[in-house]
Amino acid sequence: MSERPIRVLIAKPGLDGHDRGAKVVARALRDAGMEVIYTGIRQTPEMIAEAALQEDVDVIGLSILSGAHMDLFPRIVEEIKRRNVNDALLVCGGIIPEEDIPALEQMGFVGVFGPGTSTQDLAKFIRDEVGQRRTRSAQSPSPAR
């Protein structure tokens, strides 16, 4: 029985049409040894939360270019909370102005990554954060965990 690979959901909410960036991230995280559930473009908040719930992911990664994040992300967070997926790490990337970051952090996003972020840095950030969370939750065991 080995350490469970980190499971990451990569989703693109909103209506912006291409997912090149999200695919690059998905591949980079796979190459970093993670299991990436890739759901593609035009994901509604409900679809994202449902996938995160069923797939029991450690990380939910949202990619957005359309500028609709301040509208969509709160709804996504709400749907996630409604389903009790409260231990997944929230990260986002894409085109997100500096001034929105505090509000996003307030919402529960622990990482906000701009277009310039290297995929190595992203993978390292995820590995460190998930590592910490796993250590913490190992101290408070819950059923079937």
Partner: protein
Amino acid sequence: MDTEWIEAVRAGNPRAVARAISAVERGGPGAHAVIAALFPFTGRAQIIGVTGAPGTGKSTLVNELAKYYRRRGDRVGIVAVDPTSPFTGGAILGDRLRMQDLSGDPGVFIRSMATRGSLGGLASATFDAVQVLDAAGFDLILVETVGAGQSEVDIAKNAQTTVVVDAPGLGDEIQAIKAGILEIADVLVVNKADRDGAGATVAALEMNLNLKPKSEKSWRPPVLKTVAIRGEGTGDVVDWIGKHRAYLEAEHLLKAKERARFRSELDMVLQRELMSRLLSHLDGDEMDSLVDKMASREMDVYQVANQLLHAAERSQA
């Protein structure tokens, strides 16, 4: 262990189901405890395997099949397995991408799994996930695997009905036969029938079926054409899955199939457990030095294996 989560799984609570699957997927004592608690409540679901070469349209077909079964009122569980990269241990699990029609339906639960390359463990882990869904009251469980090797064939053995998906222009009919994939097909589907060459693919599959020795009673798989992206022909696939099910019932083969499955599962688990127990008694350095002896042609593989087995027996005694 407290029993609240068992009730939650049995009630189909998605969070409890998701976590139970994670636990069985991780293996070890935690997994065994989950199965021990849920096993008495399994055995009700109809299990359908969908396998075939990469990209033939399996996920698209699963999406269509699930929609049919939902209309019939069944609760549908889906386990979609994709390969783990042998180099990085990571995986991209992309099957959900083709199953978006099912999103938002509380009667559907989709779980993606990576093969994780454990020793013969894939079929067990997949089947354990199926058992969780079975205990959670899903009436029908679809298991998608990429038909590439023995472990996929093992997974198919766990299904009551196996649908093998092919597509024109892959040139892999021969490949499929090699992998024994045709042997396990109860229903053959030539998807992407909107493309050139579908007729030739059907003919090639029919020819291969004709080569198989026939007995009066045995099941002959139909070869069906579909265009899964447009939902064309998928109703026929549902009908034939139903006919195969009726055949299994009429011939009293369901119990026999289940027994065969338990037997092969037992073999697999014994192999795995014996191997890991054995390895826990062996010293890695000693194994390395014995491999050196093989490299220098001092000892052959049987001599080395026997020596290690004796050493393990001694340390157990």
